[in-house]
Symmetry: C2
Subunit: 301 residues, 2 copies
């Protein structure tokens, strides 16, 4: 596999530090929109690193929920199912796009693709998909991190030209462990300390310890930035930029919190050899074959 | 030690269940107040199980904060210092009232005692005191529980006639791990499953596993009750009833969250032999000598 110069070095024995972001956030014209998002929405995304679109995918909620029991049953015992760190409750189902027509049709919906292609300025492919479940009173927190850091180090994603689009399947409210984001944090890159070991993913999916910025640098980041919980009703679409710092608190409520997520990468951001020097993670965590979901619309060019 | 009939049985191999509360919440006249709290405040406390009084103890904040480094230093290596479950950060200092004049004078302040005696309808004594510190980004969550359950089972407190008064030493905001309460939950008693072992406190202070209601009963409790975060500025006084269910999320922010707490018990609620049948916990966790802080004011009778 090819490998270009590492613009976003991390781990491999380095000291933790903040590095510049070399890539744009919005890859299409902000002033003359080429897709469904307005100039204002594009500017909000550019500044904050995320967008919330309520009542956007309501018609996909029921079909996905209806397919979940079958999905759990049919994947029993496989690596695609990940359990909570301190109980045996189901936490994540990976690659539902590969196993569920309901999930696949949601993340191939033109309404979603139009937006994703507009933001990334090219045709895109599904790099990863997952369903996250936070069971009532048991769903555990996860620490602040940037997805891009892991995708770069462990999967060889070279540049920041990817995003996660996700749909709320239940109410996401203040107390059932919603996603927390730090608006604007996607504008810098945090190079983490630590050393990646082979098959790190086997433990990191339950509890991530590498690629997690330490206390001192997070205090620095939070000095002049806020924490924003992302809440909403089932059917809400959220898009967050690949380098946005996010975390999630415990679910202390009696309500489950479920979402389905899909990572879209630009077909021009072809995965290289992982920058850790190790083998790439398995296909269900990071697809390496770049198959555009549809030809790029001329508008998105 | 004497022991009366166990009105609030818990653990000792029982099935988890909800039992009635046999005791009043407010022990003085609600309609004709005998102290500083108004009828409305007494009714709020009766209904919700807590009261928040902003800007009430501002003059105590600085002296306590100033004394903390000395306190940490002088207690090094003693049982009174408790660390976080997954790091060596300081989590709790027990019995600061015994070691710090600044803390003692706060919790002997007539402004506080007038309120506490009004609610409990008698003279009171300090059963326990503590300083809780949630370090930025590291302070960990704790699960829903009633303090009374532990005090009853492990310390022999017979009836619900106690409360915790606490002062905010830093801002307590949405994201630095504030106290969460379930208003109204003090009106029922949750009898927990599990079996108390000798010296349980040696582990439970870092991470409580006994006296913690399970998922099913908590889902039931939360079906028609809300979760309320208690937030405020330094100097805010909070009073919460001994049987109110409370929890706390992780501190995901860059700000420490510190509070000083004191448990007041009525001198008429004399500790008995622990209902677990084991030895009582040590004095720094639960004072057994009932020494009124001052003679009950005639108004509070």
């Amino acid at each position: 596999m090819l490998q270009s110069k590492d613009l976003y070095p991390s781990r491999q024995g380095r000291e933790e530090t903040q590095l510049p972001r070399w890539d744009p956030v919005v890859y299409s014209n902000t002033d003359a929109p080429t897709g469904p998002l307005s100039s204002q929405q594009l500017r909000d995304y550019e500044r904050d690193g995320f967008l919330i679109l309520p009542d956007f995918l309501n018609h996909h909620v029921e079909p996905i929920l209806r397919d979940m029991p079958r999905l759990k049953q049919s994947l029993r015992g496989r690596e695609e199912l990940v359990l909570e760190p301190d109980s045996d409750e189901l936490r994540t189902i990976f690659n539902p796009v590969g196993f569920s027509e309901a999930v696949a049709s949601c993340f191939r919906d033109d309404k979603v693709l139009d937006i994703v292609e507009q933001l990334l300025g090219s045709a895109v492919y599904h790099m990863q998909s997952r369903i996250n479940i936070k069971p009532p009173l048991k769903g555990r927190a996860f620490n602040w991190h940037s997805d891009f850091e892991t995708w770069h180090v462990e999967d060889g994603m070279p540049r920041m030209r990817a995003l996660t689009a996700w749909i709320m399947l239940t109410d996401n409210h203040q107390h059932n462990g919603p996603l927390y984001v730090i608006p604007g944090s996607h504008k810098d890159y945090i190079s983490c300390s630590g050393l990646t070991e082979a098959d790190n993913y086997k433990t990191s999916l339950r509890q991530q310890t590498l690629g997690v910025p330490g206390t001192e640098i997070m205090k620095f980041v939070l000095q002049d930035r806020d924490i924003r919980p992302i809440t909403g009703r089932p059917g809400t679409l959220v898009i967050h930029e690949c380098n946005l710092l996010h975390a999630s608190p415990d679910n202390l409520s009696g309500d489950a919190r479920s979402i389905a997520m899909c990572v879209y990468n630009s077909v021009e951001n072809v995965p290289q050899a992982p920058f850790s020097g190790l083998e790439p993670r398995p296909e269900f965590l990071s697809a390496r074959e770049v198959r555009p979901l549809r030809p790029a619309s001329p508008k998105a060019a």
